[in-house]
Amino acid sequence: MSHGHHEEAHAHEPVGYGSYFITWFALVFLTAITVTAAGLHLGRTSVAVALTIATIKASIVLYLFMHLKYEDAAFRRLILIMIGFFGIMVGLTFTDVLFR
Protein backbone atom coordinates (compact mmCIF):
# COMPACT_ATOMS: atom_id res chain seq x y z
CA MET A 1 0.00 0.00 0.00
CA SER A 2 1.35 3.39 -0.86
CA HIS A 3 0.01 6.56 0.65
CA GLY A 4 2.24 8.81 -1.37
CA HIS A 5 -0.33 11.48 -2.09
CA HIS A 6 -1.18 11.74 1.58
CA GLU A 7 2.31 12.67 2.55
CA GLU A 8 2.14 15.98 0.72
CA ALA A 9 -1.01 16.82 2.70
CA HIS A 10 0.78 16.29 6.01
CA ALA A 11 1.08 19.68 7.64
CA HIS A 12 4.16 18.72 9.62
CA GLU A 13 5.62 16.01 11.75
CA PRO A 14 3.72 15.36 14.98
CA VAL A 15 4.81 17.71 17.75
CA GLY A 16 5.78 16.10 21.06
CA TYR A 17 3.54 16.67 24.10
CA GLY A 18 6.46 17.97 26.18
CA SER A 19 7.01 21.10 24.07
CA TYR A 20 3.39 22.14 24.64
CA PHE A 21 3.86 21.88 28.41
CA ILE A 22 6.94 24.10 28.16
CA THR A 23 4.90 26.59 26.09
CA TRP A 24 2.15 26.56 28.72
CA PHE A 25 4.67 27.04 31.52
CA ALA A 26 6.18 30.04 29.71
CA LEU A 27 2.69 31.57 29.34
CA VAL A 28 1.88 31.04 33.05
CA PHE A 29 5.28 32.51 34.00
CA LEU A 30 4.62 35.61 31.87
CA THR A 31 1.18 35.95 33.48
CA ALA A 32 2.85 35.88 36.92
CA ILE A 33 5.29 38.59 35.77
CA THR A 34 2.54 40.84 34.41
CA VAL A 35 0.45 40.48 37.62
CA THR A 36 3.51 41.18 39.78
CA ALA A 37 4.55 44.15 37.65
CA ALA A 38 1.04 45.62 38.01
CA GLY A 39 1.42 45.40 41.81
CA LEU A 40 4.65 47.45 41.70
CA HIS A 41 2.78 50.58 40.49
CA LEU A 42 5.32 51.46 37.83
CA GLY A 43 3.32 54.50 36.81
CA ARG A 44 3.42 55.54 33.18
CA THR A 45 5.56 52.59 32.07
CA SER A 46 3.05 50.06 33.48
CA VAL A 47 0.95 50.18 30.29
CA ALA A 48 4.03 49.59 28.13
CA VAL A 49 5.14 46.67 30.33
CA ALA A 50 1.66 45.08 30.32
CA LEU A 51 1.27 45.45 26.55
CA THR A 52 4.78 44.14 25.84
CA ILE A 53 4.17 41.01 27.95
CA ALA A 54 0.70 40.51 26.37
CA THR A 55 2.26 40.77 22.89
CA ILE A 56 4.93 38.20 23.79
CA LYS A 57 2.24 35.85 25.15
CA ALA A 58 0.06 36.29 22.04
CA SER A 59 3.10 35.61 19.80
CA ILE A 60 3.85 32.40 21.70
CA VAL A 61 0.24 31.21 21.27
CA LEU A 62 0.27 32.12 17.55
CA TYR A 63 3.65 30.62 16.82
CA LEU A 64 3.53 27.39 18.84
CA PHE A 65 -0.07 26.54 19.82
CA MET A 66 -1.52 27.73 16.50
CA HIS A 67 1.32 26.10 14.55
CA LEU A 68 2.31 29.25 12.67
CA LYS A 69 5.87 27.97 13.06
CA TYR A 70 5.03 25.05 10.75
CA GLU A 71 2.87 26.90 8.20
CA ASP A 72 4.24 28.31 4.98
CA ALA A 73 5.01 31.98 4.37
CA ALA A 74 1.49 32.84 3.13
CA PHE A 75 0.04 32.36 6.61
CA ARG A 76 2.70 34.47 8.27
CA ARG A 77 2.31 37.18 5.63
CA LEU A 78 -1.42 37.24 6.38
CA ILE A 79 -0.73 37.98 10.04
CA LEU A 80 1.84 40.67 9.18
CA ILE A 81 -0.65 42.37 6.83
CA MET A 82 -3.24 42.34 9.62
CA ILE A 83 -0.79 43.83 12.14
CA GLY A 84 0.22 46.42 9.54
CA PHE A 85 -3.36 47.51 8.87
CA PHE A 86 -4.20 47.61 12.57
CA GLY A 87 -1.09 49.73 13.12
CA ILE A 88 -2.23 52.18 10.42
CA MET A 89 -5.69 52.31 12.03
CA VAL A 90 -4.27 53.04 15.50
CA GLY A 91 -1.61 55.43 14.18
CA LEU A 92 -3.98 57.56 12.11
CA THR A 93 -6.55 57.69 14.93
CA PHE A 94 -3.95 58.97 17.39
CA THR A 95 -2.54 61.58 15.01
CA ASP A 96 -6.06 63.01 15.27
CA VAL A 97 -6.79 62.37 18.97
CA LEU A 98 -3.42 63.57 20.34
CA PHE A 99 -3.29 66.84 18.44
CA ARG A 100 -6.81 68.16 18.93
Binding site: M1, H3, H6, A11, W24, A54, I79, T93, F94
Partner: protein, 270 residues
Amino acid sequence: MSIPAHAHGAAHGDSVALHVHKDYRGSKFAIWLFLITEVLLFGGMFLLYSVYRAKYPTDFHMAAEELNTLLGTINTLVLLTSSLTMALSIAATHHGNRKLALWMLAVTILCACAFLVIKYFEWSAKFHHGIYPGSAHLAAFPRGEILFFGLYFTMAGVHGIHVLVGAVLLTVMFIRVLGQPAGKVSFVAGHGLGNAEGGNVAIVDHDGNILWKGEPIDSSIQRIDVKTKYWPVKSRFKIEDFNQLENSGLYWHIVDIVWIFLFPLFYLIT
Protein backbone atom coordinates in the same frame (compact mmCIF):
# COMPACT_ATOMS: atom_id res chain seq x y z
CA MET B 1 -3.64 25.13 -3.65
CA SER B 2 -7.12 25.12 -5.19
CA ILE B 3 -7.32 21.62 -6.53
CA PRO B 4 -10.99 20.94 -7.26
CA ALA B 5 -12.56 18.14 -5.26
CA HIS B 6 -12.40 15.05 -7.42
CA ALA B 7 -12.34 11.36 -6.86
CA HIS B 8 -9.05 9.75 -7.58
CA GLY B 9 -7.29 6.69 -6.44
CA ALA B 10 -8.29 3.70 -8.52
CA ALA B 11 -8.19 5.76 -11.71
CA HIS B 12 -4.75 7.05 -10.79
CA GLY B 13 -3.53 3.63 -9.85
CA ASP B 14 -3.42 4.53 -6.19
CA SER B 15 -4.14 1.91 -3.59
CA VAL B 16 -6.81 3.97 -1.89
CA ALA B 17 -9.92 3.88 -4.03
CA LEU B 18 -12.25 6.83 -4.52
CA HIS B 19 -10.44 9.07 -2.12
CA VAL B 20 -12.10 12.48 -2.37
CA HIS B 21 -9.40 15.10 -2.38
CA LYS B 22 -10.36 18.19 -0.43
CA ASP B 23 -8.41 21.42 -0.16
CA TYR B 24 -7.37 21.24 3.50
CA ARG B 25 -4.79 23.98 3.22
CA GLY B 26 -7.46 26.20 1.69
CA SER B 27 -9.87 25.48 4.55
CA LYS B 28 -7.18 26.34 7.08
CA PHE B 29 -6.37 29.54 5.20
CA ALA B 30 -10.08 30.45 5.27
CA ILE B 31 -10.18 29.95 9.04
CA TRP B 32 -7.16 32.23 9.40
CA LEU B 33 -8.92 34.89 7.27
CA PHE B 34 -11.96 34.59 9.53
CA LEU B 35 -9.74 34.88 12.62
CA ILE B 36 -8.28 38.09 11.22
CA THR B 37 -11.78 39.59 10.97
CA GLU B 38 -12.25 38.52 14.61
CA VAL B 39 -9.03 40.26 15.65
CA LEU B 40 -10.10 43.42 13.83
CA LEU B 41 -13.54 43.24 15.52
CA PHE B 42 -11.83 43.31 18.92
CA GLY B 43 -9.14 45.63 17.52
CA GLY B 44 -11.75 48.32 16.88
CA MET B 45 -12.90 48.07 20.48
CA PHE B 46 -9.31 48.15 21.76
CA LEU B 47 -8.77 51.31 19.72
CA LEU B 48 -11.83 52.90 21.35
CA TYR B 49 -10.47 51.82 24.74
CA SER B 50 -7.06 53.39 24.10
CA VAL B 51 -8.57 56.69 22.91
CA TYR B 52 -10.78 57.02 26.00
CA ARG B 53 -7.99 55.85 28.25
CA ALA B 54 -5.76 58.62 26.88
CA LYS B 55 -8.58 61.10 27.53
CA TYR B 56 -9.58 59.93 31.06
CA PRO B 57 -6.46 58.29 32.59
CA THR B 58 -7.42 58.89 36.26
CA ASP B 59 -11.02 57.70 35.84
CA PHE B 60 -9.78 54.52 34.15
CA HIS B 61 -7.39 53.94 37.07
CA MET B 62 -10.14 54.34 39.65
CA ALA B 63 -12.62 52.15 37.74
CA ALA B 64 -10.07 49.36 37.20
CA GLU B 65 -9.66 49.17 41.00
CA GLU B 66 -13.25 47.92 41.14
CA LEU B 67 -12.48 44.80 39.10
CA ASN B 68 -11.57 41.57 40.89
CA THR B 69 -7.92 40.93 39.92
CA LEU B 70 -7.91 37.48 41.55
CA LEU B 71 -10.86 36.22 39.49
CA GLY B 72 -9.34 37.79 36.37
CA THR B 73 -6.03 36.00 37.03
CA ILE B 74 -7.77 32.67 37.66
CA ASN B 75 -9.70 33.05 34.39
CA THR B 76 -6.44 33.83 32.58
CA LEU B 77 -4.93 30.59 33.92
CA VAL B 78 -8.11 28.67 32.99
CA LEU B 79 -7.91 29.89 29.38
CA LEU B 80 -4.15 29.29 29.11
CA THR B 81 -4.66 25.74 30.37
CA SER B 82 -7.51 25.21 27.91
CA SER B 83 -5.17 26.33 25.11
CA LEU B 84 -2.65 23.74 26.29
CA THR B 85 -5.20 20.90 26.35
CA MET B 86 -6.52 21.99 22.93
CA ALA B 87 -3.01 21.75 21.46
CA LEU B 88 -2.47 18.43 23.27
CA SER B 89 -5.74 17.08 21.86
CA ILE B 90 -4.60 17.84 18.30
CA ALA B 91 -1.13 16.44 19.02
CA ALA B 92 -2.80 13.27 20.33
CA THR B 93 -4.61 12.78 17.01
CA HIS B 94 -1.24 13.19 15.29
CA HIS B 95 0.16 10.44 17.51
CA GLY B 96 -2.86 8.22 16.88
CA ASN B 97 -3.97 8.37 20.52
CA ARG B 98 -7.73 8.73 20.26
CA LYS B 99 -8.39 8.30 23.98
CA LEU B 100 -6.01 11.11 24.93
CA ALA B 101 -7.42 13.33 22.17
CA LEU B 102 -10.93 12.89 23.61
CA TRP B 103 -9.80 13.45 27.21
CA MET B 104 -7.89 16.61 26.34
CA LEU B 105 -10.85 17.90 24.31
CA ALA B 106 -13.15 17.22 27.31
CA VAL B 107 -10.81 19.18 29.62
CA THR B 108 -10.79 22.06 27.10
CA ILE B 109 -14.61 22.15 27.10
CA LEU B 110 -14.64 22.02 30.92
CA CYS B 111 -12.20 24.95 31.06
CA ALA B 112 -14.49 26.94 28.73
CA CYS B 113 -17.41 26.22 31.09
CA ALA B 114 -15.31 27.08 34.16
CA PHE B 115 -14.39 30.43 32.57
CA LEU B 116 -18.06 31.25 32.01
CA VAL B 117 -19.05 30.16 35.55
CA ILE B 118 -16.32 32.38 37.08
CA LYS B 119 -17.45 35.23 34.82
CA TYR B 120 -21.02 34.68 36.04
CA PHE B 121 -20.01 35.06 39.70
CA GLU B 122 -17.82 38.06 38.88
CA TRP B 123 -20.60 39.84 37.01
CA SER B 124 -23.24 38.90 39.61
CA ALA B 125 -21.16 40.70 42.26
CA LYS B 126 -20.83 43.75 39.97
CA PHE B 127 -24.59 43.80 39.26
CA HIS B 128 -25.25 43.43 42.99
CA HIS B 129 -23.22 46.59 43.62
CA GLY B 130 -25.29 48.41 41.02
CA ILE B 131 -22.58 48.33 38.35
CA TYR B 132 -24.19 47.23 35.11
CA PRO B 133 -24.84 48.94 31.76
CA GLY B 134 -27.50 51.63 32.10
CA SER B 135 -27.82 51.48 35.90
CA ALA B 136 -28.72 54.63 37.86
CA HIS B 137 -25.85 53.95 40.28
CA LEU B 138 -23.31 53.83 37.43
CA ALA B 139 -24.76 56.99 35.87
CA ALA B 140 -23.62 58.97 38.95
CA PHE B 141 -19.99 57.90 38.37
CA PRO B 142 -17.44 60.23 36.71
CA ARG B 143 -17.64 60.24 32.91
CA GLY B 144 -14.42 58.24 32.38
CA GLU B 145 -15.53 55.50 34.78
CA ILE B 146 -18.87 55.14 32.95
CA LEU B 147 -16.89 54.75 29.70
CA PHE B 148 -14.54 52.21 31.33
CA PHE B 149 -17.40 50.02 32.51
CA GLY B 150 -19.25 50.42 29.20
CA LEU B 151 -16.14 49.18 27.37
CA TYR B 152 -15.53 46.46 29.96
CA PHE B 153 -19.03 44.99 29.71
CA THR B 154 -19.06 45.24 25.91
CA MET B 155 -15.61 43.72 25.33
CA ALA B 156 -15.73 41.06 28.05
CA GLY B 157 -19.32 40.31 26.98
CA VAL B 158 -18.43 39.83 23.30
CA HIS B 159 -15.46 37.74 24.42
CA GLY B 160 -17.73 35.67 26.68
CA ILE B 161 -20.03 34.98 23.71
CA HIS B 162 -16.94 33.76 21.82
CA VAL B 163 -16.09 31.42 24.70
CA LEU B 164 -19.66 30.07 24.62
CA VAL B 165 -19.48 29.55 20.83
CA GLY B 166 -16.11 27.85 21.30
CA ALA B 167 -17.53 25.49 23.93
CA VAL B 168 -20.38 24.49 21.56
CA LEU B 169 -17.98 24.09 18.62
CA LEU B 170 -15.59 21.91 20.63
CA THR B 171 -18.51 19.79 21.89
CA VAL B 172 -19.50 19.16 18.26
CA MET B 173 -15.86 18.19 17.57
CA PHE B 174 -15.89 15.86 20.58
CA ILE B 175 -18.96 14.05 19.21
CA ARG B 176 -17.32 13.83 15.76
CA VAL B 177 -14.09 12.37 17.14
CA LEU B 178 -16.11 9.98 19.33
CA GLY B 179 -17.92 8.64 16.26
CA GLN B 180 -14.62 7.79 14.61
CA PRO B 181 -14.58 7.66 10.84
CA ALA B 182 -14.76 4.47 8.83
CA GLY B 183 -12.08 3.91 6.26
CA LYS B 184 -11.61 1.76 3.20
CA VAL B 185 -8.37 0.32 1.93
CA SER B 186 -8.33 -1.05 -1.59
CA PHE B 187 -5.83 -3.25 -3.39
CA VAL B 188 -6.05 -2.44 -7.08
CA ALA B 189 -5.09 -4.63 -10.03
CA GLY B 190 -1.51 -4.01 -11.08
CA HIS B 191 -0.55 -2.53 -7.73
CA GLY B 192 0.05 -5.47 -5.46
CA LEU B 193 -2.96 -7.42 -6.65
CA GLY B 194 -1.13 -8.85 -9.69
CA ASN B 195 0.92 -11.12 -7.48
CA ALA B 196 -2.21 -12.30 -5.68
CA GLU B 197 -3.58 -14.17 -8.70
CA GLY B 198 -4.26 -17.78 -7.78
CA GLY B 199 -4.29 -16.93 -4.09
CA ASN B 200 -7.21 -15.89 -1.94
CA VAL B 201 -8.34 -13.52 0.82
CA ALA B 202 -8.63 -14.93 4.33
CA ILE B 203 -9.56 -13.59 7.76
CA VAL B 204 -7.20 -14.97 10.39
CA ASP B 205 -7.58 -14.56 14.15
CA HIS B 206 -4.92 -14.00 16.79
CA ASP B 207 -4.01 -17.68 17.03
CA GLY B 208 -3.67 -18.14 13.29
CA ASN B 209 -7.01 -19.89 12.78
CA ILE B 210 -8.62 -19.11 9.42
CA LEU B 211 -12.10 -17.76 10.22
CA TRP B 212 -13.11 -17.11 6.64
CA LYS B 213 -11.60 -17.84 3.26
CA GLY B 214 -12.65 -16.23 -0.02
CA GLU B 215 -12.84 -17.56 -3.59
CA PRO B 216 -9.53 -17.98 -5.43
CA ILE B 217 -8.38 -14.74 -7.05
CA ASP B 218 -8.35 -14.91 -10.86
CA SER B 219 -7.74 -12.32 -13.56
CA SER B 220 -11.37 -11.13 -13.43
CA ILE B 221 -10.80 -9.66 -9.93
CA GLN B 222 -9.88 -5.98 -10.34
CA ARG B 223 -9.87 -4.78 -6.78
CA ILE B 224 -10.03 -6.00 -3.18
CA ASP B 225 -11.60 -3.62 -0.68
CA VAL B 226 -11.09 -3.80 3.05
CA LYS B 227 -13.50 -1.62 5.05
CA THR B 228 -12.19 -0.60 8.43
CA LYS B 229 -13.23 1.35 11.47
CA TYR B 230 -9.95 3.11 11.88
CA TRP B 231 -8.31 5.74 13.97
CA PRO B 232 -5.17 7.34 12.58
CA VAL B 233 -1.94 5.86 13.76
CA LYS B 234 1.40 7.56 13.28
CA SER B 235 2.28 5.33 10.34
CA ARG B 236 -1.05 5.79 8.58
CA PHE B 237 -2.22 9.24 9.42
CA LYS B 238 -4.65 11.21 7.29
CA ILE B 239 -5.22 14.92 7.36
CA GLU B 240 -9.00 14.31 7.14
CA ASP B 241 -8.93 12.93 10.67
CA PHE B 242 -7.81 16.10 12.34
CA ASN B 243 -8.45 18.95 9.91
CA GLN B 244 -11.74 20.06 11.49
CA LEU B 245 -10.37 19.63 14.99
CA GLU B 246 -7.31 21.71 14.13
CA ASN B 247 -9.44 24.47 12.57
CA SER B 248 -11.66 24.54 15.69
CA GLY B 249 -8.50 24.69 17.78
CA LEU B 250 -7.32 27.77 15.87
CA TYR B 251 -10.59 29.53 16.78
CA TRP B 252 -10.17 28.52 20.41
CA HIS B 253 -6.62 29.89 20.58
CA ILE B 254 -7.74 33.25 19.14
CA VAL B 255 -10.33 33.50 21.94
CA ASP B 256 -7.41 32.98 24.35
CA ILE B 257 -5.30 35.65 22.62
CA VAL B 258 -8.10 38.24 22.91
CA TRP B 259 -8.26 37.53 26.65
CA ILE B 260 -4.47 37.86 26.93
CA PHE B 261 -4.94 41.53 25.94
CA LEU B 262 -8.25 42.11 27.75
CA PHE B 263 -6.90 40.91 31.09
CA PRO B 264 -4.06 43.42 31.68
CA LEU B 265 -5.91 46.34 30.08
CA PHE B 266 -8.97 46.01 32.33
CA TYR B 267 -7.81 44.22 35.47
CA LEU B 268 -4.18 45.20 35.95
CA ILE B 269 -3.89 48.85 34.96
CA THR B 270 -4.68 50.53 38.25
